[in-house]
Amino acid sequence: MRRRGMIAGSGAALLALPGTASSSAAAETTRLPAELPEGTRQVDQFANLPDKRRLLRLADRPPNYETPVDAFTNPVTPNDRFFVRYHLAGVPSADDMDGWTLSIGGDAVDHPVRLKMQDLLDLPSNEVLAVCQCAGARRGLGLPHVAGLQWGDGAMGCAVWRGPALRDVLKACGVKTGALEVWLSGADKPTMDGTPPYRKSIPMEKAMDADTIVAIAMNNAPLPPLNGYPARLVVPGWVGAYWMKHLTTIEVRSTPLENYWMRDAYRVPGGLFPVDHPFPSQAADGTVPVTELVVNSLIADPLEGHEVDRSGFVIRGIAWDRGAGINRVEVSLDGGHNWQDALLDRPLGRYAYRLFSTQTNLMRPGPYQLVSRATSNSGEKQVARLKVNPGGYFNNLPRPIPVLVT
């Protein structure tokens, strides 16, 4: 039995979560992971943005900023620390979104409709606490290095997303039998006419899942302009590539979307990564689209390179997967030779971060490598060896954090 009931009806509890505003009391990330390639270390910089505080800038055009590790002691990533990821440089401002509407059509609907924000507000509202993670998260930390944005740990965040379920939105137009995929478009644009606009599709099964929602609120506030204002699709358990920002067009189609973003980008060899629900209409030539997240964990305290007290300190972090939930997190103080079980905090939802912690005992002073590894409720474990693939996707190798015990 899948644990579907955890999110349903828990809206009030989610809203009452602590820590949806930034805290400045804790230590801040000030250094880059040692594993990042040399060129990346030259260009990455901590930076502020309108509505965003102290993110790690990989690129400003198109804007790609990751969340520093210090933010992940909080199971909910505040909006002003939430990562930013755009493929194309034509990023709409909030003003550009004045008069926004959402068009729903395609060959597999009875009657196309155009919805206004008020129409979405009039529909029953769903809420889900879910991790949005870039498929290329930690690409920069894997060896061999592969081309692409050299992300560290922070191409991800977890927020309370609220809005109508996509399936309730689609009711307005009547989905026909024979519907195969839902095609998605947003308001962000390429700078060149010849560049394929960013469009993605999801299979009907995922589109009709109660947890797939058209989010019009994030952590009980409007979506920040750089996270998809005024509406984005939320596809819990799936990589962020499908969470279309500035959502403007939804097409229900009887045919697969065949464009660069589906057929060439975001693909991995078939069978390399586990999935609960395949995406058969997009499988081709031995490869499949990157879809469901892999189980992973991250130590967020202490931070890389920090000094800790030999008399004992607390290791804190997060673990997450694609929806089975986290069953176990183990922590190693010696680079992965010996492991002990960490204490798991209460689950906050099947798609959310699960907090873990461990209190250390007296330790000999010197350098240590702290590592965590998670196991999901479906038995999936973080890999022992990196599953190398051309796109550098899904690095869930246990992540060593060097610290100095003094």
Partner: protein
């Protein structure tokens, strides 16, 4: 000097809702200005440094080809060769480590 001016035009000319900082200067060399002009049309040239130095000259050639074929960059064959040559000479490894 010429390189800096091209970079300045590229950054200011593409300014949208978000202000962009000047990117890190690229190494002077044959093909530098063609590289800045072509790449800056769509993205910061910091991507070049970010993806160095672990791409081989062949991998840079493939990246430039991808920009033309997949992303529709309006670069002719000869200019593409100049850009790939510049990247291969200045931002590449000889072979994969």
């Amino acid at each position: 000097m010429r390189l800096g001016w091209v970079a300045f035009i590229a950054v200011v000319g593409c300014r949208g809702a978000l202000a962009a900082d000047p990117p890190m200067p690229l190494k002077p060399g044959v093909g530098d200005s063609a590289t800045v002009a072509a790449c800056s049309a769509c993205h910061t040239t910091n991507y070049i440094l970010m993806n160095s130095p672990f791409l081989t000259p062949e991998a840079w050639t493939a990246e430039v080809a991808k920009m033309r074929s997949a992303f529709g960059a309006p670069i002719d064959e000869a200019t593409a060769a100049v850009i790939a040559g510049y990247l291969g000479a200045n931002y590449a490894v000889a072979e994969r480590p």
